[in-house]
């Protein structure tokens, strides 16, 4: 319990540092939201008036404190760019899309790589093992936007299984929404499936080489009992940690993939809000992304704690 409380406290501390960093970041990068909104035909005094209206002339620490206060009351302010809309209102549909996309990719990773990884670990053929690690290397080496283009080329343009750019939102039709999101999800999942299979099988292989496995085997236990009864249990903690990291990476990968597939999610919104210097929106998205990243590793730690009580003693460090 103490361990969990400590984890939670450090999560909050991390989030505070992240939000502070975002504020400082925006005071450092060049580009002003007011001039970006008004464009090239604006007069200097129009820009100044808009800056006043947006509260940009207030000192940084005042803006930060205002923002933190607003955050706890659920008021994230309104967007600079979409003048008449609140941040919460703008972000909610984007968050939904990104959540669906992330959950889909994560499920794909687990459903495909757990069985494949176990099968791969049992394989005796050296050729096969080499093929697996080479494939893993190859898939890892391709940038995700390129994977996206190739998937679009094959499934979208050549096979016409989906229409690139015709995403339908969840509220209109959940089935159509999912049917479109399958393809970006594949792009996110593909390299991670390869990595997970590789990681899983090498962890299991390492366990198999350990003394206890030999002992169990020499006692004549069946291979499947060995695998599921002992090996899997022992290799679970590193695998859970790894999956926690993977979950965190998915959100970063979705930034690029959403761009390629024209999916109106958080990542794409983040990019355009950064280039338009829409601070309130960026700040909110950064908090969500950071929370996702920190929460997935914390979750992995806590699950491990449940799976392997031995960790509890060492958890103090």
């Amino acid at each position: 319990m103490r361990y969990a409380a400590k984890k939670l406290a450090s999560l909050i501390l991390t989030m505070l540092i992240v939000t502070l960093m975002t504020f400082i970041a925006f005071s450092l990068i060049s580009g002003d939201p007011a001039s970006t909104m008004l464009g090239t035909n604006a007069e200097a005094d129009e820009i100044e008036a808009l800056r006043d209206e947006l509260g940009l002339n207030k000192p940084l620490h005042v803006r930060y404190i205002d923002w933190v206060r607003g955050f706890f009351t659920g008021d994230l302010g309104s967007s600079y760019r979409y003048r008449s809309q609140s941040v919460v209102e703008l972000i909610s549909p984007k968050l939904q899309v990104t959540l669906i996309l992330s959950v889909m990719s994560f499920l794909m990773i687990i459903i495909v790589s757990l069985p494949l990884g176990l099968v791969a670990a049992g394989a005796k053929s050296r050729f096969y093992r080499r093929f697996r690690s080479a494939l893993n290397r190859l898939v890892m080496a391709v940038p995700s936007f390129f994977t996206g283009l190739i998937v679009t080329w094959i499934f979208g343009i050549t096979l016409k299984w989906f229409t690139h750019g015709s995403y339908v939102s969840w509220s209109v039709s959940p089935a159509k929404s999912i049917a479109y999101l399958v393809y970006p999800a594949i792009c996110i999942a593909l390299p991670r499936i390869a990595m997970t299979v590789n990681m899983l099988s090498s962890t299991v292989e390492a366990e198999l080489r350990k003394d206890y496995a030999r002992t169990v085997r020499s006692r004549g236990a069946r291979e499947s009992k060995l695998l599921f009864g002992h090996i899997l249990k022992n290799s679970l903690p590193p695998i859970i940690t790894f999956l926690g990291q993977t979950a965190a990476e998915i959100i970063a990968a979705s930034v690029i993939v959403e761009q390629v597939f024209m999916v109106p999610g958080l990542g794409r919104f983040l990019i355009s809000s950064i280039s338009n210097r829409d601070y309130p929106v960026v700040e909110a998205i950064v908090v969500i992304i950071a929370l996702w990243v920190v929460a997935s590793s914390t979750a992995a730690d806590l699950i491990n704690l449940g799976v392997d009580p031995r960790l509890r003693r060492g958890a103090g460090e």
Partner: protein, 264 residues
């Protein structure tokens, strides 16, 4: 060689690429910036990779670009690994409140979108140059190395040989550099090759988003981004640059795997 074909294969490809990159410093078939032929010519004997949308020789540009990409990957992991290693080792070894604070900042950087981080650093350093992108990516990579090395140091710290050294009155610095660090190399080596992989991909992604890249000395990632507009009418542009990039990352990965095998 027969026992370790991956290493051999990796070294072979990497050697070829290095040879090409070094040659490009003195000679390329054509001036990489000159418009030498008509636009988007398919591969021929004169232009073995074809020409790009300006009629520049893609092969010459790939030779030059591979150098930029290699430099981006290498310097990023040098910055990330050196600083990360140092931070991780110090915090892991001494522990306490200092460790706690540094690790929270570490977490915060990890959780912070790297695109925004890159933008900040590039804005601070002035004009968009490839070198600034390298620094930005390097900083973004520090936390992962810090974490890896901290864990490794923590594990070694309580081993008998370290305790023995400490009892014998060895200085902290000596314990760390002579006893602990050499033992963590086997953990760090795979982290380095994955780091190279990720650095090259991150640079390509930044190019795709149009952040912090310079068309003056184009990297393979920048060219790959440019080529995607012509994926259908001139697929050789994307294939040749993409393949070179994949081969570079692949060969470094294979070398890493091979070395790990030898280490065992």
């Amino acid at each position: 060689m027969r026992k370790n074909p991956g290493l051999f294969f990796g070294l072979f490809i990497f050697g070829l690429l290095i040879a090409g990159i070094i040659t490009a410093y003195f000679w390329t078939p054509y001036d990489p910036e000159a418009f030498v032929a008509s636009a988007l010519e398919p591969p021929t004997l004169r232009h073995i990779f074809g020409t790009d949308d300006f009629g520049r020789d893609i092969f010459s540009r790939v030779m030059k670009g591979a150098g930029t990409t290699l430099a981006v990957g290498a310097f990023t992991i040098v910055i990330g690994a050196l600083v990360g290693l140092f931070i991780g080792a110090v915090t892991g070894y001494f522990g306490g409140a200092f460790d706690e604070i540094i690790m929270r900042i570490n977490d915060a950087i990890t959780a912070f979108p790297s695109i925004l981080l890159a933008l900040v650093i590039i804005s601070l350093l002035g004009p968009e140059k490839t070198s600034n992108l390298v620094i930005a990516l390097g900083i973004a990579f520090i936390p992962s190395y810090a974490r890896v090395s901290r864990t490794a140091v923590l594990r070694e710290k309580n081993q008998n040989y370290v305790t023995a050294a400490r009892l014998m009155g060895a200085a902290n610095f000596r314990i760390m550099s002579v006893h602990i660090l050499p033992n963590t190399v086997s953990v760090l080596l795979p982290a380095l090759t994955i780091g190279f992989n990720n650095a090259v991909l991150a640079e390509a992604s930044m190019s795709y988003l149009g952040i912090g890249v310079s068309p003056v000395d184009p990297s393979l990632g920048f060219m790959l981004k440019a080529s995607q507009s012509f994926l259908f009418s001139a697929p050789w542009y994307a294939i040749t640059t993409g393949l070179t990039m994949v081969l570079m990352v692949l060969s470094v990965g294979l070398i890493g795997d091979g070395l790990k095998k030898i280490g065992r």
